[in-house]
Symmetry: C2
Subunit: 434 residues, 2 copies
């Protein structure tokens, strides 16, 4: 990396909540940042979509020509806060090719093109940092890459979407519908007008792709992240979970076995005593399992302009420090392509519930299906309800393929009634690796 | 920092549990570490107290002359795992003066001499890393220094001693005595034969001194950390806490106000809904409050050879990466001396309990003492017990000086009986800053 001697010149792309907070810090806390970095930092320009005055910012720094700003060649760090794929991608690439380091909060871009962008950064000898892209202010990417760099990561389990966590938490507390909880989230600013990316699990999937890539140092195409959202969940599911001593949360999991890596996002039953069950409201929580370190939990605010700006500024200070020190960039983080283990082979405990006719022999017929597919049962609960009985079964670890086959066969049994539901169950902390 | 081109040469001082695990990783996972660092790492020597063979280690690498090993001048990184002040301090200084970076797990040394050692490291242009010294494998020092480098830290609240946490957790679950829980901890390897440093709070105080120094970037002499241990706690205290919806834990707190910094360690009542209440067994948990990031919680195994070795290896990889990249060392981390705010001025909520004679006017006389010392009350609970009544009061935020004065005056009241107990109460998460 080019060793910088004078003040470090920072260009900001975007001036929304996070951008404004970042600009305020760079200009208002100049002495403090200079002290931490070892050189002063100055704002060299802010690119905005429509020309306008910005409070506390000299007009001469404001431009609508982001492309010209990042091409200038005298910028040390470009902070990209536009979001989305284009024009963010082109601007980031141009910036790196012009010799600037890049700090970004853009999860969509990093999830899709992170491996390519790392390659370009490596070739250009510049840094690419994006702590803010996953879990807001909660430091998890840097610990994964640095603090745990000498360990072997086995699994990352995370609540990485604050919107859906708020919605499910609200449903759990109020007993209300998803729609009602979503409207409240929108009213409080925890959900956007169009919450599709959150509700569908796509936002969480992007973050899991990033986490899997860093945790296991492998390419992992976003399309390989199995993604289920929460749109189908109703008060009945929540109540049923509660009756079983659990909460339902949208959980992302990535893990690695000798057969390869897998990343997935789906609603999950979490026992109340599990540390992730305590991640409330719009918080994020990430549980990292490593061979030597054991289980590590990171928990905090997952979003919000101020919290996200903390992560952006942390990256800015780190990148600037390295630039002042003349350090080469971190080694290319994606050095291999491990095979992707298909979801069908991923094992989990499953909670299966259904209504059955309340007559002799039903339990025997249902449990035979599980046995014939090689799925063993941990607990069985039957409760009579007039002419029908409700049956709730928890399996031991079983592959998705086997449970899917069980579900198909159960639907064909004459003794089952209505919808048969299946939801994956997180092991308790103690049983997580059992 | 000197840019290293060939393999990086690592010297290990000490071959206990952590040392053996570290040696095993450096030799057994050479390819993996080389890939992460960008250059191979080789074991250049292991200093042990008494000459002996070590499994899997070439005899020629084993020496009893640690001083000669660290003086050699061809060592890139010295990993100090001896512990204690001397000879560890001299060896670390000699190593840095000979141009080696230092990785250590030595909390006593870093707590006492960290500021000096950082100065020497800075002067010599070498790195000094000690993630393993606080909270074992839980990454907290690096996040404080790097991820949160752009934020403003306000407070760090931590359960940083696994032994006392295990003991108090055990007492909470079993209702037994401290002595019994301590013996069980010793049987399970969670406590040493002489548990004085843990029970007295000294171990936690050393860790809080380190955390305060990094969090607030200031010198903080270990002697200025107010330290109370857990030796006086009995089953009655635990039961009383439980009856109030709390657990008792040994908590370290460091915070910063415009008046200065304060660090302290003392038994603390924690409401069950507070995230630190969920830190069980010998685990460690650290809650960081920062202006922009909000509340961040880090939780995991605080000790154990394998977990500690994860932190040591993480530091080793980070230090080696920087050395390969030719980065200058991190800037001196202790750049100022903020005033220390005396404990007398530190405000907390206090839980005060006592037996009083069960007669009219007692509550009025007791509460008058609080009022006259300017301590306002949040809750008062009185329960009659035959001829005496038990009185439990929770104060709003009040300074230690005021509560000490209240306690002195309560003891002189003719209506109080026996010991009057006071214990500080952690705010709930929501009320933490109220």
């Amino acid at each position: 990396m080019k060793r910088t001697t004078g003040p470090l010149r920072v260009a900001l792309l975007g001036h929304g909540t996070v951008g404004a907070e970042t600009a305020r810090a760079v200009t208002g806390r100049a002495a403090e940042l200079a002290d931490r970095i070892g050189a002063p930092v100055e704002l060299a320009g802010i690119a905005v979509r429509r020309a306008r005055q910005l409070p506390g910012i000299d007009d001469s720094l404001i431009t609508t020509d982001a492309q010209a700003l990042v091409s200038r060649g005298d910028i040390d760090v470009v902070i990209e806060l536009i979001g989305g794929i284009e024009p963010a991608r082109s601007l980031v690439v141009t910036a790196m090719e012009a010799g600037a380091c890049v700090v970004t909060a853009n999860k969509a871009l990093i999830a899709r093109d992170g491996a390519d962008l790392h390659r370009i950064a490596h070739k250009q000898g510049v840094a690419l940092a994006y702590e803010a892209a996953v879990a807001g202010a909660v430091p998890v990417l840097r610990p994964l890459r640095q603090s745990l760099a000498g360990d072997r990561l086995q699994r990352v389990t995370g609540i990485v979407n604050g919107t859906t966590n708020f919605v499910l938490d609200r449903m759990t507390r109020s007993g209300g519908t998803l729609q009602g909880a979503l409207q409240e989230a929108q009213r409080l600013g925890y959900a956007e007008a169009d919450p599709t990316a959150d509700v569908s699990g796509a936002d969480a999937a992007a973050k899991m792709a990033i986490l899997a890539r860093l945790a296991f140092d492998t390419e992992l195409p976003l399309g390989d992240v199995h993604t289920e959202g929460i749109a189908h969940l109703g008060p009945g599911d929540i109540a049923h979970a509660r009756a079983n001593g659990c909460v339902i949360k949208l959980v992302g999991i990535c893990d690695r076995t000798p057969d390869g890596v897998n990343a997935r996002v789906h609603p999950t039953l979490i026992p109340l005593e599990h540390p992730l069950a305590g991640v409330r409201g719009a918080d994020n929580g990430i549980l990292v399992e490593a061979r030597a370190a054991g289980e590590l939990m990171f928990h905090g605010a997952g979003a919000g302009g101020l919290a996200t700006s903390s992560a952006v500024l942390g990256d800015l200070v780190a990148v600037c420090r390295d630039r002042v020190a003349g350090a080469g960039p971190e080694r290319h983080s994606v050095s291999r392509v491990l095979p992707v283990r298909p979801l069908a082979l991923v094992a989990a405990r499953h909670h299966v519930s259904m209504f059955v006719t309340d007559e002799p022999g039903v339990l025997s017929r249902v449990s035979a299906v599980f046995a014939e597919e090689g799925v063993s049962l941990e607990t069985v609960r039957q409760e009579g309800l007039g002419s029908a009985a409700q049956l709730a079964l928890v399996t031991h670890l079983a592959t998705d393929a086997a449970v899917t086959e069980v579900m198909n066969r159960l639907r064909e049994l004459p003794c089952t009634r209505g919808t048969i539901r299946s939801i994956r169950l997180l092991g308790t902390r103690q049983k997580a690796t059992s």
